[in-house]
C-alpha cells in the first residue's frame, strides 16, 4: 500500500468502528445522512466536477429515486433491496431523457435547464396526488430487509449506508481513473481539443449524468426507506445548495474532496443550531467566503499539507500529487 492511499484507508477504518464509540442516536442519524450525501455528491461530481457543467437539478434524482422505490415497496410489495435497485434504473432512464434535451446546452443555459426540470418534476409529483399523495408525502415506507435482517436501527442503517457509499466512491474512483474519466477532464479543460482527439461532449456528459443519476436514485431509495417518509421537500432548492456546497468546498473534480465535504457539511448545520436564529445567515456567509477564499475547495490544501508531512517523515516516499485523488 502506498502513502497516497493511506488516509483513505484510515478514514474507512474510522468509519467502520465509529458506532462502537458513539452512543448518541442523534449523532448516528447525522452520520447515516452523511452516507446519503456521499452518494449524491459523488454522482454530481462526475458532471459538475469532472466535466465542469453545473447542474442545479441533481436533487431531482434523489426525489425520483425515493418516490420510485417507496411506491414499488408500498403499492406493489416489491422487496426493498430490489425496489431500490429498480429505482436506480428508473432514475437512469429519467436522467437519460432529461440529458437528451439539456446536453445541447452549455454554461448558464444548461444551468437554467436543470433548474427548470427540477421545478417541473417537483410540481408534477406535488400535483399527482392519487399516486404520490401530493405535498403530504408518502408515509410508512418499509425498512430494507437483508437476509431476513430488518435494517431499522440507526447502527444497522449506518452500516448499510456505509456499504452503499463505499461502493459508490469505489465505482466513481474506477471510472475517473480510466479513459472515461480522462474524457471528462478533457472536455472540462478544452472542449475543442477534446473533440479533436475523438471525445464527444454529448456522449460523455450523458455517461456522467446517467451514472450520477443512478447513484442519486439509490440514495433516494436509501433515504426513503431509512426515514420511512418522502416528500417533495427533497427536490427543493435548499437540497441542491447543500449538495453543491459539499462538492465545492470539499473539492470538485477530486474523489475524496466531495466525501470530506459531505461529512463536514452534514455536521456544520447541526453545529450552527447553537446560534439558532443566526444559523442560516451564517450559513450564507460561510458559503460566500469559503468559495471565494478556496475556489478549488479543501482538497488541494489538505493534499499539499499531507504531502509535506509524508515528505518530512519519509523523504524517499512518493508524495501525493497536488491535485489529489
Amino acid at each position: 500500500m502506498n502513502m497516497k492511499k493511506l488516509p483513505v484507508f484510515v478514514l474507512l477504518a474510522v468509519a467502520a468502528v465509529l458506532p462502537l464509540f458513539v452512543k448518541s442516536e442523534y449523532f448516528m442519524h447525522i452520520c447515516v445522512l452523511a452516507m446519503m450525501y456521499i452518494m449524491l455528491t459523488q454522482g454530481l461530481n462526475l458532471l459538475t466536477g469532472y466535466i465542469g457543467q453545473l447542474s442545479l437539478g441533481h436533487q431531482t434524482f434523489l426525489g425520483l429515486g425515493g418516490y420510485a422505490s417507496a411506491l414499488l415497496a408500498i403499492k406493489l410489495g416489491v422487496p426493498v433491496l430490489l425496489a431500490m435497485l429498480l429505482a436506480g434504473l428508473f432514475t437512469v432512464v429519467c436522467s437519460f431523457l432529461i440529458g437528451l434535451v439539456t446536453f445541447r446546452m452549455r454554461g448558464s443555459y444548461f444551468v437554467i435547464m436543470t433548474t427548470a426540470f427540477a421545478e417541473i418534476v417537483r410540481l408534477v409529483i406535488n400535483n399527482s396526488t392519487a399516486v404520490t399523495n401530493g405535498p403530504m408525502g408518502l408515509r410508512e415506507i418499509p425498512p430494507p430487509v437483508i437476509f431476513g435482517l430488518i435494517i431499522k436501527s440507526k447502527i444497522s442503517s449506518y452500516y448499510f449506508g456505509l456499504v452503499l457509499a463505499v461502493i459508490t466512491v469505489f465505482i466513481c474512483y474506477r471510472i475517473v481513473d480510466s479513459r472515461t474519466g480522462r474524457a471528462f477532464v478533457a472536455l472540462r479543460e478544452h472542449e475543442a481539443l477534446a473533440n479533436s482527439v475523438g471525445i464527444s461532449f454529448a456522449r460523455y456528459s450523458m455517461v456522467a449524468a446517467v451514472v450520477g443519476g443512478f447513484f442519486a436514485g439509490i440514495a433516494g431509495g436509501f433515504y426513503a426507506h431509512y426515514t420511512h417518509f418522502i416528500s417533495t421537500d427533497v427536490i427543493t432548492f435548499s437540497y441542491t445548495v447543500t449538495i453543491l456546497l459539499m462538492l465545492i468546498i470539499g473539492g470538485k473534480g477530486t474523489i475524496m474532496g466531495p466525501v470530506l465535504g459531505a461529512i463536514i457539511f452534514s455536521f456544520v448545520p447541526e453545529a450552527l443550531r447553537a446560534v439558532d436564529n443566526l444559523r442560516l445567515p451564517i450559513y450564507g456567509l460561510i458559503l460566500m467566503i469559503s468559495v471565494l477564499a478556496m475556489p478549488k475547495g479543501l482538497m488541494p490544501v489538505l493534499s499539499r499539507a499531507y504531502g509535506r508531512i509524508v515528505y518530512k517523515l519519509a523523504p524517499g516516499q512518493k508524495t501525493p500529487a497536488a491535485k489529489g485523488e
Binding site: 417541473i120 410540481l123 475556489p295
Partner: protein, 288 residues
C-alpha cells in the same frame, strides 16, 4: 370572451413587473457574465424597504417608491463593490454558489430581523375597482402598469440616447475595445449592477403594493427572471421585455384555462420549449 380579456390584461400587468425584473438581470449577465442568483433578493429588499419607509418614516406611497429605488441603487453599488467585483473572471460554478450564498444570507437576515408575517405596502389608491369596457381593474394596478412602462421607456432612452448608454453598449460588444477608447469598464459594471438592482427594487415595491411582501418572495422570481432572460436572449433588453409580458400572459391564461397548480411551471416549460427549438433564445444575442 370577456373573461379571456380580463385574464390577458391581468397577465400584462404581472408581466410588466417581470419585464422590470428581467431587464436588470439580463443587463448584468450580458455585460459581466454573472449568473446572479441573488437578483430576486433585491426585489424582496425593494418591498421590505418600501414597507419600512412608509411605516417608520411615514412617507407617502409615491415618495416611498422614489426613496426605495434610490436605496436599492445604493445597495447595488455597495454589493458590487464588496462582492460582485470578485466574480467577474471566475467560473460559473463559483459565481452561482456565491450568489446563492448571498441570497440565503439576505433572505434569512431579513427573516431574522423582520419575521415572516406577510405584509402589504399601504397605498392611497381606492380599493373600489374601475370598469373599463367591461374589464375591471383596481386603479393601483393601472398605476403599476403605467410606472413600469414609463421605466422601460426611460431605460431604452438611457441606453440608446445617452453617453452612458453608448458606453454600456460598447462594453457589451467588446469590452477590450471599449476600454481602449477610454471607457471605465469598472464604472460601467458598477452602474449597470446598481441600475439592475434599482429596477428589481422597483418591481418589489410595485408588487408589494398589490401582492404581499415576505423575506422569501425573491427566490421564485429569480428563476423566473432567468427563464425570461434566456427566452429573450441573454443581454437582449427588448427580448427581456417581450419575454416578461409573454410569461405574465401565459401564467395568467394558463392558470385560468389550463391548471392553476402548474402556474409556477409555465416559465420553465416555455424556456425548455424555446431552447429546444431555438438554442439562442427568441431574439439574437448581441443587442443591448
Amino acid at each position: 370572451m370577456l373573461e379571456f380579456f380580463q385574464q390577458l390584461a391581468n397577465g400584462l400587468i404581472i408581466g410588466s413587473t417581470y419585464a422590470l425584473l428581467t431587464i436588470g438581470l439580463t443587463m448584468v449577465f450580458g455585460l459581466m457574465q454573472i449568473l446572479n442568483y441573488a437578483h430576486g433578493e433585491f426585489y424582496m429588499l425593494g418591498g421590505v424597504v418600501a414597507f419600512w419607509v412608509t411605516q417608520a418614516l411615514h412617507l407617502n406611497f409615491f415618495l416611498s417608491i422614489i426613496v426605495t429605488v434610490a436605496i436599492c441603487f445604493m445597495l447595488g453599488l455597495v454589493f458590487e463593490r464588496i462582492l460582485m467585483r470578485r466574480l467577474y473572471e471566475v467560473p460559473i460554478v463559483t459565481t452561482a454558489i456565491v450568489t446563492v450564498g448571498l441570497s440565503i444570507f439576505l433572505q434569512n437576515s431579513v427573516f431574522m430581523l423582520w419575521g415572516n408575517v406577510p405584509r402589504t405596502i399601504p397605498t392611497p389608491f381606492p380599493l373600489k375597482p374601475l370598469t373599463i369596457g367591461g374589464l375591471t381593474f383596481t386603479s393601483l394596478r393601472i398605476f403599476v402598469l403605467i410606472v413600469t412602462i414609463a421605466v422601460i421607456v426611460f431605460t431604452q432612452i438611457i441606453i440608446h440616447r445617452t453617453k452612458l448608454g453608448r458606453a454600456m453598449r460598447a462594453t457589451f460588444q467588446d469590452k477590450d475595445v471599449a476600454a481602449m477608447t477610454g471607457i471605465s469598464i469598472r464604472k460601467i459594471y458598477a452602474l449597470t449592477f446598481a441600475y439592475g438592482s434599482a429596477l428589481a427594487g422597483l418591481a418589489g415595491v410595485l408588487c408589494g403594493s398589490y401582492l404581499t411582501i415576505s423575506p422569501f418572495m425573491g427566490s421564485s422570481v429569480t428563476t423566473k427572471a432567468w427563464a425570461i432572460a434566456i427566452v429573450g436572449g441573454i443581454g437582449n433588453i427588448p427580448g427581456a421585455i417581450f419575454g416578461g409580458f409573454l410569461l405574465g400572459v401565459v401564467e395568467s391564461l394558463g392558470a385560468g384555462y389550463l391548471s392553476a397548480a402548474y402556474k409556477d411551471a409555465y416559465s420553465f416549460i416555455i424556456v425548455i420549449l424555446v431552447l429546444v427549438f431555438r438554442p439562442n433564445g427568441l431574439f439574437s444575442k448581441k443587442e443591448l
